[in-house]
Amino acid sequence: MLFSDLGTSVPRSEVLPPESGGRKSKLRRAWLPVLAMAPFFIYTGVGLGVPIVYIIRNAFLTFQGKFTFSNMDLLVHGIYLKGFENSLLLSVITSIIPGILGVFLAYAIVTSNSGVLKRMVATASAVLANFGGINLTFIFIAAFGETTGIITVWLNHIGLNPWSHGFDLYNFYGVAFVYLYFQLPLMVLVITPALGGLRQSWREAAQNMGASNWRYWRHVGIPVLMPSILGGILLLFGSSFAAYATAQTLTEGTVTLAPIQIGDTVSGNAIAGEANVGFAIALGMLIVLSITMVFYGLARRRASKWLR
C-alpha cells in the first residue's frame, strides 16, 4: 500500500442514522428489549414454572391437601428409596462406561483422514443420541430376545448362549445394556468438539520440550480434556437418570427405578395413602438433576477457558 487514501474514512457514527433524541424514543428504547424478550420469558416461565411449583407444593401435601412430610418420608424409606438408589446406580454405570469408551471412539474418529467417515458419524451420532425410548426397546428385543432374538439365535448357532449364562435383557443390567446404545453416541457428540480443540501446537511444543507421546497425554492432553470429559459424563448421567420410556417399555415396570415409580402413580397404580409420593420422587429427581447441571455448567466453563 504505497499510496495513502485520498481523503479520510467516514466516522462510523455518521454512517448509521443517528438515533432520534427525545423522551419518547428514550422510553421506547428502554421498553423495547423488555417487550421483545417478554414472550420467551413468559412462555418459559409458565411452561416450566407452573409444573415445577405444582410438584414442589404437592410433594408436601397429602391427597386431601393437608401439609405433610409423609411423602418425603416415604421417599427415603423402603421401595421408593430402592427405586431412587437403583436409578442413581444405573446412571452412574451408564455414564462412566460409555463416557470413557466414547472418548476413545471419538478420538479414533477425529484422527482419521476420511471426511466421509466423519460426516457419517456426525449424522449417526445425532440420530442415535436422540433415538431413545421405545424404538430402542423393540430393536433390542428383536436382536437379543431370548428365543427369537436374531443375534441370540446366531450366537446359539455358534455355540454361545448368553441367556443361559445369566444375561437377561429385562432386568436391571439388561436396561443398562440397552442404555449404552444411546449414551455412547451422546458422549461422542459431546466430546468430539473438545478433541478438535486440542491444538497441534501443544503437541508439537510438548515434543519439542522432550515429551514422549505418553507424557504429552499425561501432562497436557488429558488434563486439558478432563473438564470436557467430566462435563460429558455429567450430561450422560442426567440423560440416563431422566430416561423413562426405554425402561418402562422394556421391563413393563418390573425393574424398580424412580421414573417408573412416578409413572406408576400417574397411571393409577398408586397405593392408597401414598398418592402423592410421586411428587416427592419427582422433587427428588429435580434436585438431583439440578445439582448435576450445576456441575456440568462449571465443567463447561472451565473447558471453554482452556479450549478456546
Binding site: 511444543a205 519439542n208 522432550g210
Partner: protein, 372 residues
C-alpha cells in the same frame, strides 16, 4: 567432522548454553503431492548466528524450520547440527527450543509450570526447576506473572512466556516460527528488540521465520530470502537491500521499479544516461531486459520539458514517495518531504540515475504483486 564448541564470551547469565551450535542443512527436498516445498535447500549457519528465513507464503521457509525441528521429515537430504546428523533423531530428542506462532502454551498449567516443562521432561527436581523457570521469567520481564494462566495473559506476554519456555532447556538452536505475526504492531516492535537482545546476550544460534521484511532486516545477522523451496539469496540485511542478486530479491526486499532498457556492452542506457550494470544471477540477459530501480536510486528535477510527470504522491513522514510516469513506465521515486511538498501532480520532471550501478534482469521475470 569435529564438534564445533564455540564458547563465546558473549554467552553469560541464566539460560546461557555453551555457545550456540553450528547448523547445516544439506540438500533438503520435500514434496507434498505435486508441490515441491523444499527444492534442494542447502545452507550453513554459524554458532551464535541469527538467521532469518524470509519469503512469501508457500516459499518453504516454515517447512525448512519444521524439518530442522524434526516435525517433518525430508524426502532426501540431511540436517547436521554440531557435526551430528539428526536425520534419525526425532523431534523429542533434538534439543532445540521452538517458539510457535500462537497458542502454544499449555492451557492447564501456570506460566511457571509451562516454562519449567522442558526441565521436568529432563527429570530435574522440583526446586531446581522452579528456580530456573523463575529466572527465565525475570529475563523476559514477567517475573511477577508466574502464577497466572495463559488465558489470563495478553498475546505479547504469552509469546514472551513461550520464549522463556524454549530457552529454559538451554537449547543449542532456537527456532521461531513467525512468533510476532499474531501481535499488534506496537507489541511486535517491542518484542522484536527484546528477542534480539536476548539472543545476542545468550549467543544462541537462532533461526527466525517471517514474511515481514522489516522484521528480518532489523533483527538478523543474515537474511535468507526464499522462494518456491530454494534460496534466492543469503546475505546480511544491508547487502541484501543494496545489492540484490536476483530480481526476486530486488522486488521482495524493498521496492523496485522495472524499466525496460537496452544492453550496450557492459552498460545500459537509461533516462538518457549510461550506467554500469550489475547482472542478476537469475537469468539470461542477452534478450530483452529490465533495469530494477530502487526509489532512492532516482533523483528528479522540475523541468517543463522533462520526460516524466508526477502521477501520485504519498507522504511517509521523512520521505515522500512519488510515482513518476516516464513514457509508459511508472517509476517510484523517493524525495525528501520538504522538497516533495512543493511538487504538484502532473508536474513535469527530468529523472536522473544517482546509483553507482544498476541491477538488470530478463524482462518481466518475477511475479510480485504489482502494487503501484
Amino acid at each position: 567432522m569435529t564438534d564445533v564448541q564455540a564458547s563465546t564470551t558473549a554467552g553469560s547469565g541464566p539460560g546461557a548454553s555453551s555457545g550456540g551450535a553450528s547448523v547445516r542443512l544439506e540438500n533438503l527436498v520435500r514434496t507434498y503431492g505435486k508441490v515441491r516445498a523444499l527444492d534442494g535447500l542447502t545452507l550453513s549457519i554459524e554458532p551464535g548466528e541469527f538467521v532469518a528465513f524470509l519469503g512469501p507464503s508457500g516459499c518453504g521457509k516454515t517447512t525448512a524450520l519444521r524439518v530442522l525441528a524434526g516435525f517433518e521429515h525430508p524426502d532426501s537430504g540431511r540436517v547436521v547440527v554440531d557435526g551430528k546428523d539428526l536425520s534419525n533423531v526425532n523431534a523429542q530428542k533434538r534439543d532445540m527450543g521452538m517458539v510457535f506462532q500462537s497458542y502454544s502454551l499449555f492451557p492447564n498449567m501456570s506460566v511457571l509450570d509451562n516454562v519449567a516443562f522442558g526441565l521436568r521432561m529432563r527429570h530435574q527436581n522440583g526446586g531446581q526447576r522452579r528456580t530456573k523457570a523463575s529466572e527465565l521469567l525475570e529475563l523476559v520481564g514477567l517475573g511477577d506473572q508466574s502464577t497466572k494462566y495463559p488465558h489470563q495473559l495478553s498475546g505479547g506476554q504469552q509469546q514472551r512466556v513461550a520464549l522463556a519456555r524454549a530457552l529454559a532447556i538451554e537449547p543449542r538452536v532456537l527456532l521461531l516460527d513467525e512468533p510476532l505475526s499474531a501481535l499488534d504492531a506496537k507489541v511486535r516492535a517491542e518484542l522484536r528488540d527484546q528477542i534480539r537482545s536476548l539472543q545476542q546476550r545468550l549467543a544462541i544460534t537462532t533461526v527466525f521465520v517471517t514474511h515481514d521484511q522489516e522484521e528480518a532486516l532489523s533483527m538478523a545477522d543474515r537474511v535468507c530470502v526464499m522462494s518456491s523451496g530454494h534460496i534466492e539469496q543469503i546475505a546480511s540485511p544491508a547487502t541484501l537491500y543494496a545489492r540484490p542478486t536476483t530480481a526476486f530479491v530486488a522486488q521482495f526486499v524493498g521496492i523496485s521499479s522495472r524499466v525496460p532498457v537496452q544492453m550496450d556492452g557492459k552498460e545500459v542506457v537509461i533516462f538518457g544516461q549510461r550506467c554500469p550494470v550489475r547482472t542478476s544471477e537469475s537469468g539470461d540477459v542477452s534478450g530483452p531486459i529490465d533495469a530494477l530501480l530502487r526509489p532512492e536510486d532516482v533523483a528528479i528535477e522540475v523541468d517543463p520539458q522533462g520526460s516524466g510527470f508526477i502521477t501520485h504522491k504519498s507522504f511517509f513522514g521523512a520521505t515522500t514517495r512519488l510515482v513518476v510516469q516516464i513514457g509508459e513506465i511508472p517509476v517510484r521515486v523517493d524525495v525528501r518531504s520538504d522538497v516533495g511538498a512543493d511538487l504538484a501532480l502532473g508536474e513535469h520532471v527530468r529523472p536522473r540515475i544517482i546509483a553507482r550501478d544498476v541491477l538488470v534482469a530478463p524482462r518481466g521475470q518475477v511475479e510480485i504483486p504489482s502494487e503501484v
